[in-house]
Symmetry: C2
Subunit: 562 residues, 2 copies
C-alpha cells in the first residue's frame, strides 16, 4: 500500500454469549473506526423454549440461530454507516464465535428449529457452549475412549468435556434420535454463520481440533470408535460432518448476493474461515510467541498459550497443532464462571441498601462493590470460595462441581463475599498457570483482554498478586472482533490491500496498553497461604475424596422430578 | 385462693440480647395481662465503645448495664398501667437473663464501666454471652483441666466454652489486669440486676452450675486449679465471687425503696433468685418430666432436656443437678446462630428486587422469603450449609468454626440459600438430638418456644422433617418472661397467694398450642440423605481433618493487624 491508494478496511464479527458485535478496522494501522452491538433477542435460552414455552431441564442452554443472522443485518450496516467508509474499501470479513456452540441443520443449511415440525423440540435448537446437560454422554465418550486406549484422549488432558461437540451430538442421538435422523448436517454455529455469508459449507481447524477430537496429523477418531459409542454414530463424520477441515487463516469464500443485501457490503467480499472467540484474540493481543498466556476475560476465561513442543498437560482443554497460529502448538484451558459469577452475585446477593448507596452516589453497583472490596486487605475477610458456580473446566473438567463459600460469620459483608469470589477465580487461574508451567509450557507473563480488565482494576491486581505474574492488557476493548478483522484482512490477501498471513497482520494491527499490573510482594505472601487452602479444598471436593457436590446434584435432579 | 380474695399477679422480666421485656401474669391462671419491651439504647456493642468510640477487636460483644436498669424503669410501670392492676396485688417478681453475661463491679455493685476512670476500657463493660474473644482463655482452661485430670470437665462434655464465666474472667485478667484488680466482685448480669432490685448480692445455682463449673455436690473447682490457670486467680471465688449459691426457686429478697421507685411496685415485693432465659422457659412450656426437649428458638437456640440419671454426653454445654428443676438433672445444649443467621442474610444478601416485591405486596421481607422457600422441595436447591456463622456451641464447642455454603450454581436463587440456611440449623439441631438420644437421655418430642416458632412455620416444619420428631409449641409468645413470673409467684410463696414450688405453679400457669408440626415421611427420606452429607462435612471441618476455618481466622487476624 502506498499513500496514494485509498485506505482499506476489514470487519470482524464476534459472536458472544449474550450478543454479537461488529468492528470496522483500518487494515494498515489497526485503528478501530466503528463498532456496533446487537443483543440477541432470545438471549440464552435456559428456562423455557421460545413460542411453545416448554420448560427446559436443568443445565440446558440453547440459542436461536436467527439471532446470529440479525447480528449481520444490524451491526455491519451500522459500522459502515458510522465510519462513513465506502463499502468497496471493505476488503474482508472474519468471524469468531463461542465454542462448542453447535446445531443440527438440513442439507441446505436451514436449522431444524426454523422448521415448524421441529420448533418445539429443544434438541432442534443451537446448543450453546454452556449447555451442560450432556455429562452422561461425555462420561460415555471418556469411558469408551479409555477402554479402547484411544491415543487422542491424551491431547485433551485425558478428559472430554460435556461442552464439546460429540457430547452434544450424542445427547441429541440419545434423547432425540428423530432430530438426529432429520439433521443432514451437524456443525459449529461458527461454520454455520460463515455458510450463511458465503453459501459454502466449510469446517474450521480450530473448533475441529479443540472441540471435535480432530488433529491435523490423525484426522478424527476412527469410525470404529464412534461405532463403539453407539452403532448409529459410526458414520457420523462422513454422513453429517466433513473430513475437509480448513486451516485458520484461509479464505472460506465470498459474500453472496443475499448476504451482501443483509450487510450493505459488496458481493464477492472475502470471508475468512471461522474462528473461535478466544483463539482469534491471541494475535490481536500481540501474542505470536511462546511464554505469554493470553486470558480472554469475560463471562468465562479462556487461557491460550503457544508452545513449540508437544506436551501433555493434565486437565487442560486441549492442544491443537496450528490451532491458534501456524507452526506452533496452541494450548487452551478455561474457567467457566468468571464475569457470570459477579453478575449472579449482583443480581442475587447484593442488598437493597447497597443499591441505594450506589444510586445516591450515581455510580454503578459493580463500581461500588469494587470500591468497597478494594479497601479490604488480602485475607482480611476470612473467606475462601471455590469458583465452581458453573462447574470446573480446567483442570478438573467436571461440570457437576458446584460453588462453595467458607469462612462466613455474622459480620461478613457483601463486599467481602464479592472479593472472595474474585479471589476464587484468581486461584482457579493460578491452578491453570501452574499446570502449564509445571508441565513444560512456560507462562512468564499474562496478557489480558475481554470486558473484565477494563471494568475491574481490583480484579486485575488480585490476579497479578495471586499468580505472581505481571499482567499486560490489550489496547483494544474488543480483541476478538479485532482478531476476526485481522483474519478478514488475511482472507482478502496482500493483493487486495490485506496481508499474506496473520504473522504479518499482527504487528501492524494489534497493541497493548502501557499500564500493566505488577504483583505486590506483601499481597503475594498472604495469597500463597490462601491458595494452599484453596488447593486442599479443590482436591478434596474435586478429585473424589468427597463427592458431595455430585450427590447433591443427584438429589436435586430427583427432587425436581418428584 | 378462693374467689373472694382478689386476684394476685406476678411479673417476669426477661433480659434478651437486644431488649428487655416485662410480662404481668395472673398467678392463678397464667393469663398474660400486659407486656412491655425496652430496646437497649446501646444494644449489642460489637464495633465501637460508647462515648470514646474506641474500636473493638473482632469477636467482641459488650453491653451497657444502664440498659438493664432502664428495662425495670420503663417496662414494669408500663405493664402495671396497661393491665390496670393494683401494685399491691403484684406479689412477686422473677427475672431471667442471657448467660453467661457477666461484669466487673465495685463492692457496692457499681459497674466499673459507670466510673469515669474505667469507662474507656472495654473490659470494664458487660461481656455479653456472644462475646467470643476469650477463646485462648477457654483453651487454657481446658488444657489445664485435662492436664490435671479435673473430673468436673466431663460434666460439660469435655470442653468449656469461650462464652463461659471463667473464660471471660481470665480474659480480663490477661488483657486488663488493672480492671481485674479494680473489680471487687465479678458476677453474672442476672445476679447483678437482682442485686439492684433487692439491695442483696446473691448467686443463682443455674448460672453457677452451667457457666461457672459449680456443682451442688462438689462446689467450684479447687483453688489449686485456679492457681494452675494463673496464680493471680487462685482466690477468685472467695475474693470476688461467693460459695453461697442459692437454688433456683428460692427467694432472693424484697424490693428496695429505690427499686420500688423505679418500678411503681411496693417495697417488700418478693424477688426470685435469678435464672437463665432458656432454663426458666422449661416449666413455662409445661415440661416438668424427662423425654421432652425444650427448644428456646430466637437469635440462638438453647436445648433443654431433663434426665433422671447422670449421663456424660460429648459436646453438650453441661448438666446441672437441680439446674432446671429440683430432683432432676438438667441437660443443656445450644446452637449459637439461628435467628441471627436469617437476620444477617436479610441484611446482607437479599437483593433490592426482592425488597421491592415485598414492598409492592405489603409484606415483610422474611415473609416473602419464607413464601418463596416454602415452594421448594427438600433437596431441590442442591445446596448444603454448615450453620457456623457464629461458631458451633454443641456438639463441637468451637467458636472458631465459620459458616459454609456448598452447591451454588449460576441459577441459585436467594430463597434457595435462605432455605439452605434454615435446613443447616435444623441439621445442627438433629446432631444435638442424636447426641442426647444416643447417650441415654431420650428425646421423644420437641417443645418449641421463643420468637422463631411464631414467625416461621416453614422453619418449624423443616425441623420436624429433619429431626423426625413431632414439635409442639408453647402457647405463650413470651415463655421466658412467663417462666420468670412463675418463679416470682414461687418466691412470693403460698401464703401470699403464690405457690410453694415450681411443680405446683407449672400445671396452673403454662400451656401448649393445640397445633403441632408432624414429620412428613417423604421429606424425612430426602433429609436423611442430606443430613448424612452434613455430618460428613461437619466432621471434616469440625473435628480436625481440615482446620481451614481456623487457619483463615488466623490469617484474618493477622491481616487486620498489619
Amino acid at each position: 500500500m502506498t499513500s496514494s491508494t485509498p485506505a482499506k478496511y476489514a470487519i470482524g464479527v464476534d459472536f458472544g454469549t449474550e450478543s454479537g458485535r461488529a468492528l470496522l478496522v483500518d487494515v494498515a494501522t489497526g485503528h478501530e473506526l466503528a463498532s456496533s452491538v446487537y443483543k440477541y433477542a432470545n438471549g440464552v435460552i435456559d428456562e423455557t423454549l421460545p413460542d411453545t414455552g416448554k420448560r427446559l431441564e436443568p443445565d440446558w442452554a440453547l440459542q436461536d440461530p436467527n439471532d446470529y443472522i440479525e447480528v449481520f443485518k444490524q451491526t455491519i450496516p451500522a459500522v459502515v454507516q458510522e465510519s462513513g467508509v465506502d463499502p468497496q474499501d471493505v476488503i474482508g470479513i472474519g468471524i469468531d464465535f463461542t465454542a462448542c456452540t453447535m446445531l443440527p441443520v438440513k442439507a441446505d443449511g436451514t436449522p431444524l428449529c426454523f422448521l415448524p415440525e421441529w420448533r418445539g423440540n429443544p434438541h432442534a435448537w443451537v446448543k450453546l457452549w454452556k449447555h451442560h446437560a450432556a455429562q452422561p454422554e461425555a462420561d460415555k465418550i471418556n469411558e469408551t475412549a479409555r477402554a479402547r486406549g484411544e491415543a487422542w484422549l491424551d491431547r485433551y488432558g485425558g478428559k472430554i468435556s460435556s461442552e464439546w461437540f460429540f457430547s452434544k451430538t450424542l445427547q441429541i442421538l440419545d434423547e432425540a434420535p428423530d432430530v438426529y435422523d432429520a439433521a443432514d448436517r451437524l456443525l459449529e454455529a461458527a461454520d454455520w454463520v460463515v455458510w450463511q455469508l458465503t453459501g459454502v459449507e466449510t469446517r474450521n481447524s480450530c473448533t475441529a481440533g479443540y472441540k471435535a477430537m480432530w488433529s491435523k496429523r490423525e484426522g478424527f477418531p476412527d469410525n470404529a470408535y464412534f461405532a463403539a459409542l453407539d452403532p448409529r454414530l459410526e458414520d457420523v463424520i462422513d454422513a453429517k460432518m466433513s473430513r475437509d477441515i480448513q486451516s485458520i487463516g484461509s479464505k472460506a469464500g465470498e459474500l453472496t448476493e443475499e448476504a451482501a443485501g443483509w450487510t450493505g457490503l459488496l458481493p464477492g467480499t472475502a470471508v475468512a474461515i471461522a474462528n473461535v472467540d478466544a483463539h482469534v484474540a491471541v494475535p490481536a493481543t500481540t501474542v505470536v510467541e511462546t511464554g505469554r498466556m493470553v486470558m480472554i476475560m469475560g463471562t468465562s476465561i479462556c487461557h491460550m498459550v503457544l508452545g513449540d513442543e508437544e506436551r501433555l498437560i493434565p486437565g487442560i482443554c486441549g492442544y491443537v497443532e496450528d490451532g491458534i497460529l501456524p507452526g506452533l502448538f496452541g494450548y487452551e484451558a478455561g474457567q467457566s464462571c468468571v464475569g457470570d459469577h459477579f453478575a449472579w452475585f449482583v443480581e442475587n446477593c447484593v442488598p437493597a441498601s447497597y443499591e441505594r448507596e450506589a444510586q445516591v452516589r450515581g455510580i454503578d453497583i459493580h463500581e461500588l462493590l469494587e470500591e468497597k472490596a478494594a479497601k479490604l486487605k488480602p485475607g482480611e475477610s476470612g473467606l475462601l470460595a471455590l469458583d465452581w458456580w458453573n462447574g470446573n473446566r480446567s483442570v478438573l473438567v467436571d461440570v457437576d462441581l458446584t460453588g462453595m463459600l467458607l469462612g462466613a460469620t455474622l459480620l461478613t459483608k457483601p463486599e467481602e463475599i464479592y472479593r472472595a469470589l474474585i479471589e476464587a477465580t484468581a486461584y482457579g487461574t493460578r491452578v491453570i498457570v501452574d499446570a502449564f508451567d509445571d508441565n513444560g509450557v512456560p507462562v512468564n507473563e499474562l496478557v489480558a483482554c475481554g470486558g473484565l480488565p477494563e471494568r475491574n482494576k481490583l480484579l486485575m491486581q488480585i490476579y497479578a498478586d495471586v499468580t505472581g505474574r505481571e499482567i499486560k492488557v490489550s489496547a483494544s476493548a474488543q480483541t476478538p472482533a479485532l482478531g476476526s478483522a485481522m483474519f478478514g484482512a488475511v482472507a482478502a490477501g496482500e493483493e487486495a490491500g490485506g496481508y499474506a498471513s496473520i504473522y504479518e497482520a499482527a504487528p501492524k494491527m494489534s497493541y497493548l496498553q502501557e499500564e500493566a499490573y505488577k504483583p505486590n510482594p506483601e499481597a503475594q505472601k498472604v495469597y500463597d497461604q490462601l491458595f494452599a487452602e484453596y488447593v486442599t479444598l479443590h482436591d478434596y471436593f474435586g478429585r473424589g475424596e468427597n463427592d458431595v457436590m455430585k450427590r447433591l446434584k443427584a438429589i436435586k435432579a430427583s427432587a425436581r422430578k418428584s
